[in-house]
């Protein structure tokens, strides 16, 4: 099974490399946007009218991921699962506050995922 896994990852590497070269500009723009938002957040821009919280940045990044990186519901739910597992680890380690914050990201990802479930059937994304 170990060999199977290595072979599988080896094959996937090529697929990922192709996807990356296909989305080079989008990845660049996505990262720039993300960095910009983080910088604006750290400098406290738009406060108190629109606080650029990390929650908002995470949500915006999910939306950008759909627009630029062609993310679909399966990927978004996968992200939700990752954060949920992370929340679980934090909760088991009794880091309740951090687990709560992580669960917020899970919920945001679920919201976006469900929205995509609807949109994937519309001409916008289908």
């Amino acid at each position: 099974m170990k060999q199977n896994l290595i072979n599988y990852l080896h094959r996937k590497r090529g697929t990922i490399a192709k996807w990356s070269s296909d989305h080079l500009i989008e990845l660049f723009v996505f990262n720039i946007f993300l960095m910009l938002l983080i910088m604006l957040h750290s400098a406290g821009y738009f406060q108190p009218y629109l606080p650029l919280t990390l929650n908002l940045i995470f949500f915006v990044s999910l939306v950008f991921a759909i627009v630029f990186l062609d993310c679909r519901s399966k990927t978004i739910f996968f992200i939700a699962m990752l954060f949920w597992i992370f929340a679980m680890i934090l909760r088991i380690a009794n880091l309740e506050i951090w687990a709560e914050r992580t669960a917020i990201y899970t919920y945001e990802a679920i919201c976006v995922g469900v929205l995509l479930l609807f949109l994937e059937r519309t001409p916008i994304l289908s």
Partner: protein, 1032 residues
């Protein structure tokens, strides 16, 4: 045996479902003859009486009655109990029958929906049923046997199924049958209309998800038609409670917009304290799970909560379920369903979190801007059914997908095939996956073990819901039922605790008598304790405890109380009933004693001799009633009714309440949270000052509360006082054990002041330290009576690592008044001085007040008021020098320590000028036909008179007079008497006439019940015809 096997092989699915439905049997198994009851779980000990109460929109049982419109929704729920009662007669069996019925409703309704949604796999259906019926959210529903929750949970699957079948163009009779069943089961949700609305929210979300995904007009039209038809059926079948409830909420004269307008506390924020998304997504949002004992860290209410918080297996499972839900959504093989579960999940979590951040901002916005949205004051409890449905649905969908399309795993998880070895792959068979699913379902049942085993009812704890009622309770029930004509009047319970806590296990927030009988009862309510009648009841108890029998007896006459139930089996801090009550005629049942007042002197409908306008504030009405009883009624001087032209104005006399400066100051002080400014004032309690204003000059008779006058150095026979600055003597004209009345005085218009000199002793002898007072010292402190000039004071030096104090003991205390604790101090060095007051009895500490005094290096005054818990107890006053972490420690000087009782006796003045047109006092005979209808005859009415009706005021109470010739007249001059009751002034009537008093909104119930009945019969008839036609 073979036959049995054959039967099992044919009906094994039904056997599993029936087994699940019988879960409530486990709750009673091995626990003897107990009943699940207490606190919010109001299982009636007289099911028929409880059912019949729900045929009326006014409940006259509790505390003077209240509108009961929404509670009529519980008719079907209690009908099931009545059915069980007629079959079994035994209360335990009745309860078991009722619980099994509702459990079966949940199991079978969810199964019907699951069968429609996941038709290819029974395991998927079972998964849906088990996760829908056995989850953490439902613990609370069953723990309190919440009618509204159960109804909603039972009706959701049926409503959805009806809509889906309509969409699939199923037979009309099937749709109508399901709609009818959903309507009847949903009816209980009307007890809290927020749950009823939640049902429609779920149907709306289903329609929304379908319409968005299918995007064709036909679907929209079909679903709209189905939803409309279903809604109309539900609304028509439930008209019997919808009409009166809508009337009471939407068209009330109270102008209701939010939850506070109907007297409920808005506890949204406190209930949302632990509804973080992390908890909500794992169904752990119940507030009572998080209440812990600060000292031990153990759960206060939910003993099993720690398992869910700390045990890693439970934690893993709680996260694992949501993980699988996400997998189910990600697979999206059935996209339309996935969208529906997804949207339910999002909305359920969003609303369920209530005002908890981050989504709480939006929730609060909705609460502010949408009328009636504040009725969703328990968001987690109301909206989590959306989430449980989403979880059960997604898991069912996941199970169906993996079991029906094992080969499709390649399609969904192609990487799995590439990674796994053929040997492992060969293990992924339908059979093995089925075993996994069964294990998962069993794991969920284990995870929900408190529900399965009955631990949700907290067996073995002080707050257990498993109660074995003693037999004398039922003897008392029989006695009350056997002589309804002897005891048609009200019964007041004693002791006066808001939560009745019995030594044999029952705990209730309403009087236990309301579970047992149809007798009208009065007690200290937990809800709306500051409503007019509860305030009078509170004072009645206090008068009883003070031994003021004349006043308490007068109040009993006004409130139509004929019995005092002394519950000797109730754990309470309240003092025993005074000996004077125990001399009344008594009927005993075990620990219960019913003491009888003279019932001939009381009546619920009566005609008072006098009427007074009172300038009373909250809580003063009891003085008026205690003084005059049912010979007079009062009307508030600011009541708009007095501005109307009627015969009342010529019959009314003023009754003036004065402001007692000491009482007012203590009450103001105690109502402020930040009170440093008030604390540094010096207070002199050597005089009682009464101020009042007179509008109508004339002769007034002053009366003073009698309680403990001598202990303030007052001789009731003649009181030296100053009246508007002039020395005068008030000479007693008459008195009893409650009030002293003095010779009349002439009062002119305007403001007046009466000062009474008091000898209000310091309860700490030698508190000025001029000679050594008695106090207890800590061994680590240095205590010294120091002297500067002629003045002596106490010096305390603390160089130890802990508190050092001088402790003054005061015992016993007078529990019926507040106390002023006053001292002078000087903080020389170190930490802030502290003043602590401990109130305790022999068994336990009762109340602690710990005040940090400002660090002031010169002599300064500090005073605080203390309102003790009303029970036999003592005080310890501690003057502290707290520790400081340096060599010099803390040095504090204390002087002039005094503890004095607040003189709170009320002085009032009654006009004795004859009214322009005195009232006639006719004789009234009446019958209570039902809680909403009283009929009677008035005789010897020789002029204008008042009909007082001692039931809580509502403009919807109407009175109609029938003349001897049969003509009818509706009395219009209706006003609030005695701050809570109804009264009509009647003029120009014949000497003898008949009257009828009724609660008008009952007509909406009657109309609604007619509509409901016709709808049910119509639907049943239509279905019968349809079935017959098909057979032909």
């Amino acid at each position: 045996m073979k036959k049995l096997k054959l039967l099992f092989s044919r009906y094994w699915r039904s056997v599993i479902l029936i087994a699940l439905s019988l879960t409530p049997i486990l709750w009673f198994f091995g626990r003897g003859n107990i009943v699940i009851d207490g606190v919010d779980t109001n299982f009636p000990l007289n099911p028929v009486a409880w059912f019949l109460r729900r045929l009326y929109v006014w409940n006259s049982i509790n505390n003077g009655g209240s509108d009961f419109s929404a509670s009529t929704a519980g008719l079907f729920f209690h009908l099931i109990q009545v059915g069980g009662f007629y079959i079994f007669h035994n209360l335990q069996q009745v309860e078991m029958f009722s619980l099994i019925f509702w459990f079966a409703i949940l199991v079978f309704s969810s199964y019907l929906l699951a069968r429609q949604l996941f038709s290819k796999s029974f395991l998927a259906q079972l998964t849906f049923v088990v996760f829908y019926c056995f989850n953490i959210y439902i613990f609370n529903t069953w723990e309190n046997v919440k009618v509204a929750n159960l109804s909603l949970l039972g009706a959701i699957p049926l409503g959805l199924l009806a809509l889906i079948l309509f969409q699939n163009k199923a037979r009309l009779s099937t749709f109508l049958g399901l709609s009818l069943a959903a309507s009847i089961i949903l009816s209980g949700a009307g007890i809290n209309p927020a749950y009823f609305i939640c049902f429609f929210l779920i149907l709306f979300l289903y329609m929304l998800s379908q319409v968005i995904l299918k995007r064709d007009c036909l679907t929209l039209f079909l679903l709209l038609k189905g939803l409309l038809a279903l809604s109309i059926i539900i609304l028509l079948v439930n008209s019997y409670w919808i009409l009166p409830t809508a009337k009471s909420l939407l068209f009330s004269t109270k102008n209701i917009h939010n939850i506070q307008d109907i007297g409920f506390t808005n506890w949204l924020d406190s209930l949302s304290e632990h509804t973080s998304l992390l908890n909500i997504l794992r169904l752990q949002g119940a507030w009572d799970w998080y209440a812990v004992d600060q000292a031990t860290g153990m759960p206060l209410y939910i003993p099993y909560a720690n398992n869910y918080f700390n045990k890693s297996t439970f934690l893993l499972f709680s996260f694992g379920v949501m993980m699988l839900v996400l997998v189910g959504l990600a697979i999206k093989r059935r996209r339309i369903l996935a969208c529906f579960w997804g949207i339910l999940l999002i909305v359920g979590v969003f609303f369920g979190a209530g005002s908890h951040p981050p989504t709480g901002t939006f929730y609060n916005f909705l609460g502010k801007h949408i009328p009636f949205f504040s009725f969703f004051r328990s968001p987690w409890y109301i909206f989590t059914p959306l989430l449980t449905l989403a979880i059960a649905g997604s898991l069912g969908m996941l199970v169906e997908t993996i079991l029906t399309r094992v080969s499709a795993l390649k399609e969904y998880v192609p990487s799995l095939i590439e990674i796994l070895t053929p040997r492992v792959l060969s293990l992924i068979t339908k059979r093995n996956l089925s075993v996994l699913v069964i294990l998962f379902v069993i794991a969920n049942l284990v995870y929900a073990y408190p529900l399965l085993t009955g631990r949700i009812f907290r067996p073995g704890r002080y707050d257990s819901f498993f109660v074995k009622f003693p037999s004398y309770i039922f003897d008392a029930q029989k006695w009350l039922a056997s002589s309804p004509n002897v005891h048609p009047k009200r019964i007041i319970g004693y002791p006066d605790d808001q939560i009745e806590n019995y030594t044999w296990g029952y705990r209730g927030v309403d009087s236990i008598l309301s579970l047992l009988t149809d007798a009208e009862v009065l007690y200290s309510p937990l809800n709306e304790p500051n409503a007019p009648l509860p305030l009078i009841i509170k004072d009645f108890y206090q008068l009883l405890q003070k031994g003021n029998s004349a006043a308490s007896s007068n109040i009993a006459k006004s409130l139509d109380i004929s019995l005092i139930l002394d519950k000797g089996d109730q754990s309470s801090l309240a003092q025993q009933l005074p000996p004077v009550i125990k001399t009344l005629p008594n009927t005993q049942f075990g620990a219960w004693n019913f003491y009888s007042y003279d019932a001939s002197e009381t009546a619920k409908i009566y005609s008072p001799r006098e009427v007074y306008s009172v300038n009373s504030e909250e809580g003063q009405e009891s003085i008026f009633l205690g003084f005059l009883g049912n010979r007079a009624i009062s009307i508030n001087a600011s009541d708009n009714f007095l501005k109307k032209k009627n015969d009342l104005s010529s019959a009314i006399s003023p009754f003036i309440f004065t402001n007692n400066s000491q009482k007012e100051d203590s009450q103001n002080f105690l109502s402020i949270s930040q009170r440093l400014k008030q604390s540094i004032d010096f207070r002199n309690l050597a005089a009682g000052e009464y101020t009042f204003s007179i509008k109508n000059q004339g002769l007034y008779e002053p009366s003073l509360e009698r309680y403990a006058l001598e202990s303030y150095g007052i001789d009731p026979a003649s009181i030296d006082a100053t009246f508007d600055g002039v020395k005068t003597v008030f000479v007693r004209s008459r008195d009893d054990d409650s009030y002293v009345t003095f010779n009349p005085i002439y009062l002119t218009q305007g403001q007046h002041v009466i000062n009474i000199n008091l000898k209000n002793p310091n309860l700490i002898p030698n508190g000025n330290f001029e000679s050594l007072p008695e106090f207890k010292q800590d061994s680590d402190g240095t205590y010294q009576i120091a002297k500067v000039g002629d003045n002596q004071y106490l010096s305390i030096i603390n160089r130890s690592g802990h508190d050092v104090s001088a402790k003054f003991h005061i015992a016993p205390i007078d529990q019926h008044t507040n106390y002023l604790i006053q001292l002078r101090y000087k903080s020389l060095w170190g930490e802030n001085p502290r003043l602590s007051v401990y109130q305790s009895n022999k068994a336990t500490p009762l109340k602690v007040l710990d005040e940090q005094l400002p660090k002031y290096p010169d002599w300064s005054t500090y005073s605080i008021y203390f309102d003790p818990i009303r029970t036999d107890s003592y005080f310890d006053i501690l003057l502290k020098a707290p520790p400081k972490n340096d060599e010099l420690g803390t040095t504090v000087f204390y002087d002039d320590l005094s503890v004095q009782r607040v003189f709170s006796n009320q002085l009032f003045l009654r006009s004795i000028e004859k009214p322009v047109k005195p009232l006639s006092v006719p004789i009234i005979y009446f019958d209570k036909k039902s809680p909403v209808l009283y009929q009677g005859t008035v005789d010897k009415a020789y002029g204008s008179h008042i009909i007082a009706f001692s039931e809580n005021y509502s403009p919807d109470w109407k009175m109609e007079i029938t003349f001897p010739d049969g003509t009818k007249y509706q009395a219009k001059d209706h006003f609030t008497a005695n701050s809570f009751a109804n009264a009509w002034i009647v003029s120009g009537m014949p000497i003898r006439y008949n009257f009828k008093i009724w609660y008008d909104p009952q007509k909406y119930f009657n109309w609604g019940a007619g509509v409901s009945l016709l709808t049910v019969l119509g639907l049943l008839g239509f279905m019968a015809v349809d079935i017959k036609r098909r057979k032909v």
